[in-house]
C-alpha cells in the first residue's frame, strides 16, 4: 500500500500569528514538504491545480518536475489535474514529458474542479463538467495509447494525423486516478477504463465515501477488469498529531476554526465525528486510519492532507516526521497483514511496463 501527502497549495494566513506567507515562500515550502515526504519514508506526493488565488499551483507539472529532480524514490501525482478546463492535448504532452524526466515516477489524478468562475476563463461552462470530463479523457487516452490520432468531438478543435510528443515512457502511459467527491458518473468513468478511483473522503461523512467506493468496485467488475475487491482505490485523510491528544486539539483548533472550505461552521469535535478528520495522538491516527478499511475494503493508496489552513512549514515538517516514524510503519504492516494475496498493489510504472510486455508478448505468441 502507498502512503503519502497531498497539498492543495493554498496560501492562507496563519490565524495564530496573523502572518501570510508570500507566494515565493509557500512555493519553496511545498518543495521542502515533498522532499521531506521522501526522506521520512512516504511513497507519494500529490499537488493540486488551481487557477485563482489563494492557490499558487497553476502548473503542477513544473513543480513536480523540479521535485523529481531532487528526489529518487518518491511517486509524484496530482490532486487534481483539471480534465475539464485543460486541453487534453496539453495534458497528454505535459504529463508524458514529466513521466520521462521523473523516470516513470508519475501518475495523475483527474478532477473536474468545482470553482465556477474558472470554467469561462478557459472558454468552458461548469454545467458541461461531466461531458467535458468524459470527452476530454477519451481523447487523452487515445493520445497516449495510439501513435497517430484522428479525432473530432464537441469541445475541441478536431485533430488529423496528430502525434502527441513525447510518447509515454516505455510505451506505457502514466496511471490515472479519477477523483470525485459527489459524482457517481466519475466513479463509473474510472470503472469503465479500469483506472483508479480516489475519494477525497475528507470533507464528507464516511458513509458517503463508502457508497461511492462500493459503486466503483461493482462497476469495475461489471466492466471486466477483475473482481470488485481488485479495483484500485485511494482515499484522502486529514490529520494533526501531537504526542498528547489534548495538545493536538489545542494547537489545531484555531487553524480548524478559520480554515478555508469548512471553517466557521461545525466545531472541531463535531467535524471530527462527521468526517475522517483526526486530531490527536499518533495512536489515534493509526486506529482511525485502519478503520477506513472497514468501509472501503482493502485499498491501495492513502494520502494525508497536512499542509493547509495556514499551518507553518515547521509544524508541517513535524507532522511528516510523526507520520514517517510512528504512523506509516504501523499502517504499512497492519494493512499488509490484512490484505488478501489477490488484491493488487497500486500500479507503478514498473508494474505497468511488466503488464504491458506480458500483453504484447501474448499478442505475438497468438
Amino acid at each position: 500500500m502507498q502512503f503519502g501527502v497531498f497539498s492543495v497549495s493554498d496560501i492562507t494566513t496563519d490565524p495564530t500569528t496573523g502572518r501570510t506567507p508570500s507566494e515565493a515562500e509557500r512555493i519553496q515550502a511545498v518543495v521542502t514538504i515533498a522532499k521531506k515526504a521522501e526522506e521520512v519514508g512516504l511513497d507519494v506526493f500529490a499537488l493540486g491545480e488551481h487557477h485563482n488565488p489563494p492557490f499558487f499551483s497553476s502548473s503542477p507539472t513544473t513543480t513536480l518536475a523540479y521535485i523529481a529532480a531532487q528526489t529518487t524514490r518518491l511517486q509524484l501525482s496530482t490532486a487534481t489535474t483539471l480534465i475539464t478546463t485543460n486541453d487534453p492535448v496539453k495534458i497528454a504532452e505535459d504529463y508524458a514529458m514529466l513521466q520521462h524526466l521523473a523516470g516513470g515516477r508519475v501518475d495523475l489524478m483527474l478532477g473536474r474542479g468545482n470553482t465556477g468562475p474558472v470554467y469561462p476563463w478557459f472558454g468552458q461552462d461548469i454545467r458541461d463538467g461531466i461531458p467535458l470530463a468524459v470527452e476530454n479523457y477519451a481523447l487523452l487516452r487515445r493520445l497516449w495509447d495510439e501513435d497517430v490520432v484522428d479525432w473530432s468531438g464537441r469541445f475541441r478543435t478536431p485533430l488529423s494525423g496528430f502525434t502527441s510528443t513525447p510518447r509515454p515512457l516505455d510505451g506505457v502511459a502514466p496511471f490515472v486516478w479519477h477523483g470525485s467527491i459527489r459524482s457517481p458518473q466519475i466513479a463509473e468513468q474510472a470503472a469503465y477504463y479500469g483506472d483508479g478511483f480516489f475519494s477525497n473522503h475528507i470533507f464528507w461523512p464516511a458513509e458517503h465515501t463508502a457508497r461511492m467506493v462500493e459503486f466503483y468496485r461493482r462497476r469495475f467488475e461489471h466492466h471486466g477488469h477483475g473482481s470488485a475487491d481488485q479495483a484500485i482505490v485511494g482515499l484522502g485523510g486529514q490529520v494533526f498529531m501531537r504526542r498528547n491528544s489534548q495538545d493536538a486539539v489545542r494547537e489545531f483548533r484555531l487553524y480548524f476554526d478559520n480554515a478555508p472550505v469548512y471553517g466557521h461552521g461545525p466545531s472541531l469535535e463535531e467535524f471530527s465525528a462527521q468526517t475522517p478528520l483526526t486530531v490527536g495522538s499518533p495512536q489515534q491516527v493509526i486506529e482511525r486510519t485502519l478503520g477506513f478499511r472497514d468501509y472501503v475494503g482493502d485499498y491501495q493508496r492513502q494520502l494525508f492532507l497536512v499542509d493547509h489552513a495556514g499551518l507553518p512549514l515547521k509544524t508541517v515538517l513535524e507532522q511528516l516526521d510523526i507520520l514517517g516514524e510512528e504512523v506509516v510503519p504501523v499502517l504499512r504492516r497492519e494493512f499488509a497483514a490484512a490484505k488478501p494475496a489477490h488484491v493488487p498493489d497500486a500500479p507503478t510504472h514498473t508494474s505497468l511496463v511488466a503488464a504491458h510486455r506480458t500483453a504484447v508478448g501474448e499478442a505475438v505468441v497468438r
Partner: protein, 206 residues
C-alpha cells in the same frame, strides 16, 4: 386503509410560536380530511429552529449532519408537505429558505404542498402568493390553491381562531387531502446511484 405521512415544516422561532400554532391546525385539519377520505395519516414535524446550527454548518461544509439528514429525509420521503413560515422583511424567513436551499435539486418534485405564513400585520398576507408560491413552483411541487395566512387578529375568535381562518384552514386541508389521496403512496427511492447512466451512455453524451 393506507397510512400516509405528512411532513410539517415550521420556521417559527419563539415557543410557542403562532407559526407552529398555524402549522398544528393545518396538520390536524389535514389528518381529519384524509380520514374522511378513508386514509390514515401520521404527522412528522420538523421544527427548523432546532436545526438552525445544523443548517448553518451545512452551508459551510456542504453536507447534512445526522440530525439534519433525518429531517431532510422525513420531508422528501413524505406523501404531503405542510410548510409554514413567519414573514421576515416581507418574505419567508431566512431559516425557512436555508432549509429549502439545502434540499437536493428535484427532491421535492411532484410533492403536494400546503403553504402557510404568519406575520405581525395582515398587510403581509400576499407573501404566500408573491414569495412562497413561486418558490414551490421552482421546486416543481404541487401547491394547493388555498394558502393560509394568519395575522394577530386571526387568533382572536371562539376556539382560539377567527371563524374565517378556521374555514380557510379546512378548505386548504381538504385540497391537500385530495391531492395526497389521488397519488400512490410514497415514493421515490432516495438513491443517487440507481440512476447513473452507463459509461456508454455518457460517451454518447447521455
Amino acid at each position: 386503509m393506507s397510512t400516509r405521512t405528512l411532513a410539517v415544516v415550521t420556521a417559527g422561532l419563539s415557543t410557542p410560536s403562532s407559526t407552529r400554532l398555524l402549522a398544528d391546525r393545518l396538520a390536524a385539519a389535514t389528518v381529519s380530511a384524509l380520514r374522511e377520505r378513508g386514509e390514515d395519516a401520521t404527522i412528522e414535524v420538523v421544527e427548523l429552529r432546532t436545526h438552525a446550527r445544523d443548517l448553518a454548518d451545512h452551508l459551510v461544509t456542504g453536507f447534512a449532519n445526522d440530525t439534519l439528514r433525518a429531517a431532510i429525509d422525513t420531508v422528501v420521503g413524505a406523501d404531503g408537505l405542510i410548510a409554514v413560515t413567519p414573514v421576515f422583511s416581507a418574505s419567508y424567513s431566512g431559516l425557512f429558505k436555508t432549509f429549502v436551499d439545502v434540499l437536493d435539486q428535484d427532491s421535492l418534485t411532484g410533492m403536494p404542498v400546503l403553504m402557510g405564513a404568519t406575520a405581525g400585520t395582515a398587510r403581509h398576507s400576499l407573501v404566500l402568493e408573491h414569495a412562497m408560491r413561486p418558490l414551490f413552483a421552482h421546486l416543481r411541487t404541487v401547491p394547493v390553491p388555498t394558502g393560509v395566512f394568519a395575522a394577530p387578529e386571526d387568533w382572536a375568535g371562539a376556539d382560539g381562531v377567527d371563524p374565517a381562518l378556521a374555514r380557510r384552514v379546512e378548505r386548504a386541508a381538504g385540497e391537500l387531502a385530495d391531492l395526497v389521496t389521488g397519488r400512490p403512496a410514497q415514493r421515490r427511492p432516495v438513491d443517487p446511484f440507481a440512476s447513473v447512466p452507463s459509461f456508454e451512455e455518457l460517451l454518447r453524451g447521455g
